[in-house]
Symmetry: C2
Subunit: 569 residues, 2 copies
C-alpha cells in the first residue's frame, strides 16, 4: 500500500483550515496535521470590532468550527497551543513546541503549508507598554478591550492610525459611549485606500458622529499614571487624555519561520510565492496574510491581508498539496468597511496610486442615488472612477456613502478582472428595478462622465481645483445653477459666486460676459454639465463645471449640504 501524503499546515485562522479541508476533500487518504499557537481554529478575526461593539454578542459566534469538527469530520490532527519553531527543509521536518507542556517534538511532511498570518504593526514609542494600550488581532485582545471599557468611567479612547480597523473601532467605541479621537500621520483617513476628496466625504460623517479627527499628526509618546496605565497621548500638536489607546497601524506579514528557513521574502515583506502559491521551496506552500500577492492591474507585488484572500489561497493550496494544479490569479485591493452609517468601498488603484504607478489618468467624481430617485428612502452614494487616459481602461474605483456601495464596487472589481474600459462599463446590462437601482446606475453615469471628458464634451474642475482658485482670488464666475430655494438652503460663500438657475440660463445669457471664465456647479453636477454645454453652445469659450458639485464638496459649506434636490426637476 502506498504511503499516505503527509500534509502539515502551520496556522489555524483562515487559510490553514481552508487548505486542510480542501486537501481532505481532494485526498481522503492524506494525513493532515494543523498546528496552531492559539486555542481555537477558524477564528473570525474580521468580526472582532462587532464583538466589541456588542453587535455580535458571544465570542463563540466568532469561532466558526470547533476542534472536534476538524478531527471527527475532517479527520485531521489538530495541534493547538503548539508553536512551530523551525523548518528543516532538507529533512522535511518541522520542530514544534507544545505551549502547555513545553515539550519539543518534530513532525515530518511531504507538503508543508505556511499560513502564519500577520502581526500588528507597533510603533516604537515611549510608553508603548503601558496598560490600556492595545492592538486588535485576536479574540483575547477583544476580550481585554471589552473588559476595560465595560465600567462606565472609561470614557476616552484614542485610536492611532485611520485605517479600516481604526474606523470600525471608532464606531464600536462610540456605540459603547466612549469619546473617540483618531490620530493619523497622513492628511486624510484611509490614506492607503482613498483619495483625499473621497476621504473628506467620510470625514464629514465621522465628525457628525462625534469622532474627533487629528489628521497629519504624528504621535510622540504615551504617558501613564502611577499604576502603569495610559493616561495621555502626546502628538506633535496636542495632548489627548486617554483611558484606552488602540494601535491600529495595520499589520505586517508574519514571516519569521519562513525567513529562518531561508525561504524567499518579497520586497513587500510577504513570503514570495508563485501562482501555485509555492514558496521558493517547492514542497512548501504559503497563503493568507503572510504572503505577497500579485496586483492584477499593475502586475506588481502587494500585500492583501484579508480573510477573503486567505480563503481563496486555502482552496488553491489544498488542491495543490494533494496533487492538483490550481493557480491563484492575484488581487485587486478590493476593500469594504462599514463606517457608522456609511458603506466605504474601493477597488483597484486610487488616483494617487495610479499616478504613482506612472499612469496618465482621467477620473470622475459623481454623486448618485442607490436606487430610483422616485422610490422612497434612497440614499446617496459618491462614485470616483480612475481610468487610463490613453486607453479608457478602468484602473480603480471608490464608492462611498450612506447608500449601497458593495454592489457597485463588486461590479467594478469584476470589470477590472477582465481589463474593462469605461466604454464597457457604460453598457453593462446591470439589474434594474426601482427598489434596487436607477435605469442608469451611478456606475453607468460615472463611466459616461469619463467618456464625456474624453470626447471633449465635459470640461471639469475638481472641487480642490475650484477651492484653489477661490483661495487665490482668481477672477472668475462660480456659477450656481441651482434653484433659489436650494441657494437659500446652502451655498458656497464666495465673492465669485453668482446664482443663475439652469432653467433661466438660456433666457439670461446676456447677464454673463462672453469672455469670462465660468465654473458652473449645482447639487450633483448634472445641471452644471448641462450649463457648460449650453454656454459653450452659445459661444462661451472658458466654461467648465465642478465635478461632484455640492454633494462632493469636501470643505466647509454655508448651510445644510445634504438636502434633497429632487424639487429642481
Amino acid at each position: 500500500m502506498e504511503r499516505p501524503n503527509e500534509v502539515v499546515i502551520i496556522g489555524g485562522t483562515a487559510c490553514g483550515p481552508k487548505a486542510g479541508a480542501r486537501a481532505r476533500r481532494c485526498d481522503p487518504q492524506a494525513r493532515i496535521t494543523i498546528v496552531e499557537q492559539g486555542e481555537d481554529l477558524s477564528t473570525a478575526t474580521c468580526g472582532l470590532p462587532y464583538y466589541i461593539s456588542g453587535i455580535i454578542d458571544s465570542q463563540s459566534a466568532l469561532v466558526a468550527r470547533r476542534h472536534d469538527f476538524f478531527k471527527d469530520v475532517m479527520n485531521m490532527e489538530v495541534l493547538t497551543r503548539t508553536k512551530a519553531l523551525a523548518i528543516d527543509r532538507e529533512a522535511h521536518k518541522v520542530e514544534m513546541l507544545n505551549l502547555e507542556t513545553n515539550q519539543v517534538s518534530t513532525i515530518g511532511y511531504d507538503k508543508l503549508v505556511l499560513a502564519t498570518g500577520s502581526l500588528p504593526a507597533v510603533p516604537d514609542l515611549a510608553g508603548r507598554h503601558l496598560g490600556g494600550i492595545f492592538t486588535l488581532t485576536k479574540l483575547k485582545d477583544a476580550n481585554a478591550i471589552r473588559n476595560l471599557i465595560s465600567p462606565p468611567e472609561i470614557k476616552k479612547a484614542v485610536i492611532i492610525g485611520a485605517g479600516l480597523i481604526s474606523l470600525e473601532m471608532a464606531e464600536a467605541f462610540v456605540s459603547q459611549g466612549l469619546e473617540v479621537t483618531v490620530v493619523e500621520a497622513l492628511d486624510w483617513v484611509l490614506p492607503a485606500l482613498l483619495d483625499f476628496e473621497v476621504a473628506a466625504y467620510i470625514e464629514k460623517h465621522l465628525r457628525a458622529k462625534s469622532v474627533n479627527l487629528l489628521l497629519g499628526q504624528r504621535v510622540i509618546r504615551f504617558e501613564g499614571d502611577g499604576n502603569g496605565w495610559v493616561r495621555r497621548v502626546i502628538t506633535e500638536d496636542a495632548e489627548l487624555e486617554a483611558n484606552l489607546v488602540l494601535l491600529a497601524l495595520g499589520t505586517r506579514p508574519n514571516t519569521s519561520l519562513a525567513q529562518d528557513a531561508g525561504l524567499t521574502i518579497g520586497s513587500t515583506g510577504g513570503i514570495a510565492v508563485n501562482q501555485y502559491l509555492q514558496t521558493s521551496e517547492p514542497d512548501i506552500y504559503a497563503g493568507g496574510d503572510c504572503v505577497e500577492n500579485v496586483n492584477r492591474i499593475t502586475q506588481q507585488k502587494m500585500l492583501a491581508p484579508l480573510g477573503s484572500t486567505a480563503n481563496k489561497h486555502g482552496r488553491v493550496i489544498g488542491t495543490n498539496v494533494t496533487g492538483g494544479c490550481e493557480t491563484f490569479p492575484g488581487v485587486l485591493g478590493t476593500t469594504i468597511a462599514k463606517v457608522f452609517d456609511y458603506n466605504v468601498a474601493r477597488v483597484g488603484l486610487s488616483e494617487l496610486q495610479a499616478r504613482e504607478a506612472g499612469y496618465n489618468v482621467v477620473t470622475c467624481l459623481v454623486p448618485g442615488y442607490e436606487h430610483a430617485t422616485y422610490y422612497p428612502k434612497g440614499k446617496e452614494i459618491l462614485v470616483k472612477l480612475v481610468a487610463e487616459k490613453s486607453s479608457n481602461r478602468l484602473l480603480g474605483g471608490q464608492v462611498v456613502g450612506p447608500g449601497e456601495t458593495a454592489k457597485r464596487v463588486d461590479v467594478l472589481a469584476t470589470a477590472l478582472t477582465f481589463g474593462a474600459t469605461v466604454d464597457d462599463l457604460a453598457n453593462l446590462d446591470l439589474a434594474y428595478a426601482p427598489p434596487y437601482s436607477s435605469a442608469m446606475d451611478p456606475v453607468h453615469n460615472a463611466a459616461n462622465v469619463i467618456r464625456n471628458k474624453q470626447s471633449g464634451y465635459a470640461k471639469a474642475l475638481t472641487p480642490m481645483e475650484v477651492k484653489n482658485k477661490l483661495e487665490s482670488g482668481d477672477d472668475f464666475i462660480l456659477l450656481d445653477v441651482r434653484s433659489p430655494g436650494e441657494w437659500d438652503t446652502c451655498r458656497l460663500e464666495a465673492t465669485q459666486a453668482k446664482l443663475l438657475p439652469l432653467r433661466e440660463l438660456r433666457a439670461r445669457l446676456n447677464e454673463l460676459p462672453k469672455d469670462a471664465e465660468i465654473v458652473a456647479f449645482c447639487q450633483t453636477s448634472v445641471r452644471a454639465y448641462q450649463a457648460q454645454r449650453i454656454l459653450e453652445g452659445a459661444g462661451f469659450k472658458r466654461i467648465k463645471f465642478m465635478e461632484g458639485s455640492i454633494a462632493a464638496w469636501p470643505y466647509e459649506i454655508y448651510g445644510k449640504a445634504n438636502y434633497s434636490s429632487s424639487s429642481w426637476r
Copy 2:
C-alpha cells in the same frame, strides 16, 4: 451658415427623451423635436406597481421631468398629445395628428428616432372588454386601478400571467388588502426567467404571503355582471371570483409605424437595428422597447423591454444622430424584481434556455447567506449557476431569496459580459467585510461547486432527481447527515430516509452497506458534499449528494424548513 441638423424623435418615455437630451449635449445647434401621444414625457412606468401599492404616494413623482424642462433647458420642441401617423422615407417627413385639435401636419427630419415602446399583450378571450379588466403600462392604467380598488368592498383580484409585473402587482394588491390569485399557463412562475426549482422557491414565499397560484392553467373566458363589470375568471379547472383582473402577459414591440414605413422587422417582432441602432433605413434610428437586441451570450436576437436598456439605447442614438459613432453591444437578459420580501434576480441563460440553445451544461444549486453567518440578521439566498460543460464558461445565473441578490447578479452580469468561466468567478476579488458578505461569497461557493463537479469530486443529484427516485420507489438510502435536533425540526419523509449525523459518520460507517446507493443531504449541501467525500474515501462507490438540500427542496417538507442551521458547527 450651415442648416442645423433636424432630429425628430417619436416617443417620449425613456429612450426618446434620453436620445434628445444626449443629442442636445452633443450638438447645441441641432433642431430637436419630440413627439409623444400622451400628456407627459419621461414617465417612470417601472414605478407603477409601487404607485398602486402606495409606496410611491404621488403620481408627480413618476414624471421625471416636466415639459418646460425640455423646452427651457434642452431647447427641444415638445409635441405632446401628438400621434405620428406615417413616415415618408423618401421625403424624410413624418405625418402627425394633434390629438387635441385633430389637425394633421408634417415635420421634416434629417435623422428620425423611433422610440415607440411596447404594447401590452392582450389575449383574445371572451369577455376581455368587461369593465375591471386592465393592462398596466401607463399612468392612466395605474390611476384607474387605484380608483377601482380604493373602496374596501373590492376584494378579489385575479392576475393573468406570472411574469415580473404580475408578481410585483400581486404584492401591491395584497398590500391594499385584496385577495390575489395568479393564473399562469406554464408550470411555474416567471417561466421566461427562472428554472423550475428556483421558481418553486419563490412560489413557497408567494403562498406564504397568501397569494393563490394556479399554475399550468389557461384562462378560458371572463364573465361579467349586468353592468358590464368583470365578476368571474373561468380557467380550464376553476371558476374564480374577481372584482378586478390584471392582464399581465408581457408586452410586444410597438412597430406599426416602422412596419408601415417598410422598415425591417426582426424575427422576434422587434424593429431590426444594427450596432449603431440604425434601422434598415440609415437615417432612421430606433431604440427602447420597440427594437430587438443582441443577446451577448448566444449572439441571437431577443427582446429586452426594460428602462435600463432604453436609456442606454437613448445615449447611443443621441450620439449617432448628431454625427457621433457609438455602438450598443447588446444585452444579457438581466432582470430583478422585488417579490414581497424576496429579491428575485437572474441574468443570461436559464438552464432550460441554455439547453434549448444547444449548450451542454453543468449547473449548481447553492444556498448561502447574504453576509457572514456570525454577523446578525443575515438572510438566505439561493444561487443557481449554469455553465458550459466543455469550457467552464458561465452562461447564466439565478439568485433569489430574502437576502441580497442584486449584487450577486450584477457581478454575474459583469462576468458574462467578458465571457468569464466559473474558474474566473471563483477567484474574483469581491469586497469582503462581515456586514456585506462572507469571506467566500455565495458566488464563489457556487462557482466552486461547479468546479468540484467538473473535476469529479462532487457528484450531485438535483432535488427533482431525488424526488423522482422517491416516487419511483427506488431502493436507495436518503442519508440525512444533519443533527438529530434538525431532524426533529423538519425532515424529508420517506421510507428511504435515514439519519446519520456528519459528525458521527466516520465512526458509524458500518451501519451503511458498502454497495448501497446513497444520496446524502443536509440543510445547504455543505455537509452532504462532505459526507459524499467521506464515504467515497471509505470505499463506497454509489454515493451522491442532493444539491441545495433542504434549503432548496422545492416540494412539501415535514416541519419548518427555514430554521437556522448554525448550531451544527
